[in-house]
Assembly symmetry: C2
Homo-oligomer: 115 residues x 2
DNA sequence: AGGGCTTATGCCGATGCGCGCATTATGCAG
DNA sequence: CTGCATAATGCGCGCATCGGCATAAGCCCT
């Protein structure tokens, strides 16, 4: 019947790693890049520049962060780098959060109508 | 056979809301507060101060942010405010990410041993 | 090797935010 | 009404990071 069983507190180190991961997703630019990659499959940097309007250096940096975290992978095609989403987890997380945002708005709407 | 079906890109507004949500979890202090609340059930601010070592003002601010996002709820007990986790989503997200971090480390370990 | 690509990196200003101190606001007891 | 406790807020410092510009580094072609 216990809805939230007692559990040990996460170690400070785990806390840092979790928050570092969420921080990666806390930047609209990075999230946008991930969504573009999911939408377009595998894309090179030029396409990402055109799709997002960001500068080349900015995109390079953000992709670097995402790659170090293993969220995107890249392979060479001659001089170009082709990036792609490497982990479906981000999409799952976004869907969960989006569903939650929607539910929350619907609830607020009902409360307004209940007046 | 399509592993990632084509989908419409999220609007800039949704992108901002998603990233804002993840930003809430991108701070170790907030994550720690959420974990403490999950661990202790419902706690007042004094207990949180003792458990985390943060200043009263800091905790008040962080709880305010979490409450505005609907992640924690609070009720009065006389002059004290008792906070509690209001949404199991955060715990789910953390578990997903934690599992992923673990898998990633195991994979890196295997790659080292394969040498 | 040299020139023309594409990507990564040093630098820097602007911005945001964590976080404590001091103060104010809010509820309770006398 | 006056203290007394607790929680919220104004203020300020410090630090991290975003994001563009300029430059360096890496790859391909002749």
């Amino acid at each position: 019947m216990r809805r939230t069983q007692p559990q040990t507190l996460p170690s400070p180190q785990l806390l840092d790693e979790l928050s570092a991961f969420f921080r990666l997703l806390s930047e609209p630019a990075r999230l946008q890049l991930l969504c573009q990659l999911k939408h377009g499959g595998a894309m090179d940097v030029a396409s990402l520049i055109e799709a997002t309007g960001f500068s080349q250096s900015h995109i390079s940096r953000q992709l670097g962060q995402l790659q170090r975290a293993g969220l995107v992978s890249c392979e060479r095609d001659g001089v170009r780098l082709i990036y792609a989403v490497a982990d479906p987890l981000v999409d799952d997380l976004c869907n969960l959060v989006q569903r939650r945002l929607k539910q929350r708005l619907e609830q607020q709407l009902r409360q307004l109508q209940a007046v």
